[in-house]
């Protein structure tokens, strides 16, 4: 009997420790695991390194985690979406470190980390400031940059449906970084709007096989960042 369900978002994130590296799924609000992030804010872990494509908007979700002062460093591709003020303010004040990575390189570094590939050569960013200090090498007459695999202590993602074995389906463009992050987290946690018994999902259509998932939390009606922001919400 395998059952990866845990009782609540709070139970799922209870062991995230100070200084942990945490991957958080989402591209903008699509795929952002708001309830897991809010549980992490309640839980109190600090000095986190957050690996996520963006930095959140308004005063909820990822932005709220930053605003609570829990994040030491952000690794991302685009930290200044419209409606994003928390990160820019912290960054200008020197209160958060930023490692800027091209979006495709970020995706590939996370995939490599999860796939046991130590490092790879990509043409992206060759000749730009984002290759400064990095090892360069020419393949087929073209300069490539050496990039290293990324792993994290924890991964927090959102799914449309999951089963008790941890198999996950996603919703449209909410999929984005979640499948790779599931592979790269030492402990990978999914919040899913629907949780079903193993054997319910079509084995041909599963996007993230259960081997990559450690904990499944049922969050039946996940909040959306835009709806919370329109309502003027802030967390906590």
């Amino acid at each position: 009997m395998i059952d990866k369900r845990v009782a609540s978002a709070h139970a799922a994130v209870a062991d995230i420790f100070d200084g942990a590296a945490v991957m958080i799924g989402g591209f903008g609000e699509a795929g952002s695991p708001i309830e897991l992030i809010h549980a992490l804010i309640d839980q109190g872990a600090k000095d986190l390194t957050v690996i996520s494509n963006n930095t959140g908007t308004g005063l909820v979700g990822l932005a709220a985690l930053l605003r609570a002062g829990r994040v030491r460093k952000v690794i991302c591709s685009f930290p200044k979406t419209a409606g994003s003020t928390v990160f820019p303010d912290l960054y200008r004040a020197g209160k958060v470190e930023l490692e800027l990575v091209p979006q495709g390189t970020l995706a590939e570094r996370i995939r490599a980390g999860g796939a046991g590939v130590a490092a790879f050569y990509t043409p992206t960013a060759a000749g730009t400031p984002l290759a400064d200090g990095k090892e360069l090498r020419v393949f087929n007459g073209r300069e490539h940059v050496l990039e290293h695999g990324l792993r994290a202590d924890f991964t927090l993602i959102k799914g449309r449906a999951a089963d008790t074995h941890g198999n996950v389906l996603y919703h449209r463009t909410a999929r984005n970084f979640a499948p790779m992050m599931a592979t790269a987290g030492h402990v990978s946690i999914v919040q899913a709007a629907e949780v079903v018994d193993a054997g319910t999902l079509d084995p041909e259509s599963i996007v993230t096989p259960g081997i990559f998932i450690d904990r499944v939390v049922h969050v039946p009606s996940p909040a959306l960042e835009s709806a919370l922001n329109e309502a003027g919400a802030s967390y906590p």
């Binding site: 609000e29 494509n53 091209p102 990509t122 992206t124 060759a126 730009t128 400031p129 449209r172 984005n176």
Partner: protein, 224 residues
Amino acid sequence: MTTSPSSAAPTGWSREGIAERVAQDIPNGAYVNLGIGIPELVARYVPAGRTLVYHTENGLLGMGPSPAAGQGDPELINAGKRRVTMMPGAAFFDQATSFAMIRGGHLDLSVLGALQVAANGDLANWSTGADDAIPAVGGAMDLVAGVKRVFVMTTHVTKEGEKKLVERCTYPLTGRGVVTRVYSDLAVIDVTPRGFELVELAPGVSFDFVQERTGAPILRNPSR
């Protein structure tokens, strides 16, 4: 007759005119990534009878137009984080797959904006390098490194009249030697091993008018 830069009156193509001109150059069946903002206009002007497949790097091939205001799905969005729709034949995929399409050379065309384009094809479009700016790059460097052809859509000069087509970029680069062709309000200009080459002037715009507003020589390319 030569018109001095200071007398630059509204002339040449409008934004929509540039978009329409770009659309003419995209063949049926092309896989295309349109950058956020002005490049998105191109989709409105695709000639009848041609079907393009739009890629949005956040994980969708077969992107359709925006839904009606207030409609749509907040988790069916484009790279600009705005709601979109999907067309028959659409497919969703993760970011590693999406950028495999980009980096692996599977997309036929990317249409992007620019801060500067150099005569050697260098592109700067992600940062002015200002000290207080929050750096943000998204997928721009991946797109220019991987997509087969990169079209730039831009005003020929900035609002302040500064040249955007230059000998060498002074802003931080997005990629080296990556631009295929520039579509401005004044002209269509190829980037070739010999530098800028004129393809076409906008209606009512003279070659000299364009050359004066360009920071590097433009070849007239009589062979066209």
